[in-house]
Amino acid sequence: MKVVVLVNAVPDTAATPEIAPDGRSVLTEQLEFVLDPYDEYAVEEAVRLKESLGAEVIAVSIGGDVARKALRCAFAMGVESGVLVRLPGGMELTGRGRSFCLLPTLRELSPDLILAGKQTVDSDDAQVPERVAELLDFVHASAVSQLTIGEGARLLVNREIEGGHLVIDLPLPAVVTTEKGINIPRYPALPQVLKAKSKPLHEVAPPLDVDLTAGWQVESVTLQHTARKQQIFSGDIITGVQQLAELLRQDA
């Protein structure tokens, strides 16, 4: 069984972003990048398939050095090799462009299963895995919270839906995106971090035969400043505490 896991690096959520002078992008030089937390679930799931079924697991990403970092995080977690579709510096892609960029690599790898996070945490995009499924003509299930390999190249997945669960039986090859809770991603122990360096990372150029331009552009980016709601309870302490408890019960 061959599993491809799509990974992406995102700014650490603890970081405070700054808007670039053009007002249309975020300054990335100062930001720490980490493997997208949703992708971490996908990587963990893939590594578990490697451990339980001996699946071959390959991580794939698009971008520059930041994307390389995402791949190395995946290596540290147990993925054995990776492919980076190296974009020329400064080139930004939309979900459509990214999917087209991935296509030749994915066709060549010809996996049985493609795993990815259900969305990116930075821009909340949830396009690439779905578009890829469509382009490859694979079946697809999104936001999966449990995954089991069934008999005869089939897959059983669990999706949490409003007020219940949905169990879906899919044929392979398939694209599955992972939801929080599907597993607890491991911390790579330090020897794995050290070994990540020597794992094969193959770089390829984006395809030339498709128009990767977006067809749209970002007009502006602004940061949201949330003002804190303040309320002071005056009067005696007993009533104050009662009012506070009431407020917590109602609003919190």
């Binding site: 720490e32 980490v34 190395r72 540290a76 911390y187 790579p188 122990a189 330090l190 020897p191 971090v193 050290l194 990540a196 360096k197």
Partner: protein, 378 residues
């Protein structure tokens, strides 16, 4: 000269920071006794395995990488007692790995790197601290090995240790430099008593106590290195120790620096952020300089040790400079935080209490000055 860390070192650093922030977030003051759960997590992370050969379960990292990792650990883990306990474990392992027989290495290193056994090193006695080689604990030749008698004090990990590297006088007839040896003593050996932890000013989770040896028989094969090699072993080990503990301190210093910057920018008085007052900003400038200067010297010592060269002078400079800088940084951080700094909630008071010990253990500041002046030829 290239002052940048390599990709591997930055990744190790980032992994440790992430691990410590997310997994070791408990307040150190809440912990009761030795932090066994956190210790196990550090062991699973294989922090204690870093500088050891892979054949004993180690990671095979060089000393500089171990120093960078320790710095990250001191930066992200607020429990300085735990950090110190882990450093002690690594330092015990380095002594066994560099001086121990193949048999001792196979017997102890695998359980040391996995954190399954807790290690301690015992040099200090009630009557001899700075004058370490003036120790009185005696290991007399006896059938099959030695008979150990004496008492050690302040021993880190002592109350909880499974294995202790004990320094003792094996030959009182010769000079102090050649009359001391290092022996491995295990918990449960007859005549070996581990006393209760002593109450301290800071480093709350660190367990320090007395170890008593009363006619404790130690087999000859438990000798680390050869008989009379104790002082050489001690001197070499001090070079590692005076690099590894300051690495953790420098990490802590960096965290306190960042905390102070954030507080000074966010706190206003007289209609402006307190960071705009020069009396405040100059304290932070001092912190930043200590951080940058300390780091250069720290990495120099670590690199020198990786080249298998002596670095006694440089290690003493690093130890003295960083431990004093940490103490001053903590004191200034409390001052910058004003009344809040004195309150436990803001945590800087704990760092201050923890930092005081840094200028005492591993050779006091005064002793480092003596060493440095001796090297200058004064």
């Amino acid at each position: 000269m290239n002052f940048a860390l390599n990709e591997e070192q930055t990744e190790i650093r980032d992994s440790i920071i992430r691990f410590a922030r997310q997994e070791l977030s408990v307040s150190a003051d809440e912990a009761n006794g030795f932090p066994h759960a956190a210790w196990r997590k550090c062991a699973e992370m294989q922090l204690m395995a870093l500088p050891f050969p892979e054949e004993y379960g180690g990671c095979g990292a060089d000393f500089l990488t171990t120093v960078v990792a320790t710095q990250a650990f001191g930066y992200a883990c607020k429990d300085a007692g735990l950090v110190h306990a882990v450093c002690t474990q690594i330092l015990c392992g380095m002594q066994i790995n560099s001086f121990g027989s193949e048999e001792l290495k196979h017997r102890y290193l695998p359980s040391l790197v996995r954190g399954e056994k807790i290690f301690a090193q015992a040099i200090t006695e009630a009557g001899s601290g700075s004058d370490a080689l003036g120790m009185r604990t005696r290991a007399e030749l006896a059938e099959g090995g030695y008979l150990l008698n004496g008492t050690k004090i302040f021993i880190t990990n002592g109350p909880v240790a499974d294995v202790v590297l004990v320094f003792a006088v094996t030959n009182p007839e010769v000079s102090r430099i050649s009359g001391i040896s290092c022996l491995v003593v295990e918990k449960g050996m007859s005549g070996f008593t581990q006393c209760a932890p002593m109450a301290k000013m800071g480093l709350d989770t660190l367990q320090n106590g007395e170890l008593v040896f009363a006619d404790c028989p130690v087999p000859a094969e438990n000798l680390v290195g050869s008989a009379g090699q104790g002082a050489i072993l001690f001197n070499e080990s001090m070079e590692w120790e005076r690099c590894l503990l300051p690495a953790a301190h420098l990490g802590t210093l960096e965290r306190i620096f960042e905390t102070s910057v954030a507080y000074a920018k966010g706190r206003s008085a007289f209609g402006q952020p307190i960071s705009k007052f020069q009396a405040v900003s100059s304290k932070i400038v001092e912190m930043k300089m200590a951080l940058e200067l300390g780091r250069l010297m720290l990495y120099k010592v670590a690199t020198t040790k990786d080249q298998h060269k002596r670095a006694a002078l440089e290690a003493s400079i690093v130890k003295l400079y960083i431990s004093e800088a940490l103490k001053k940084t903590c004191l200034d951080a409390v001052q910058i935080h004003g009344g809040y700094g004195y309150m436990k909630e803001y945590e800087v008071e704990r760092d201050l209490r923890d930092s005081i010990a840094a200028t005492i253990y591993s050779g006091t500041s005064e002793m480092q000055q003596n060493i440095i002046s001796r090297f200058i030829g004064l």
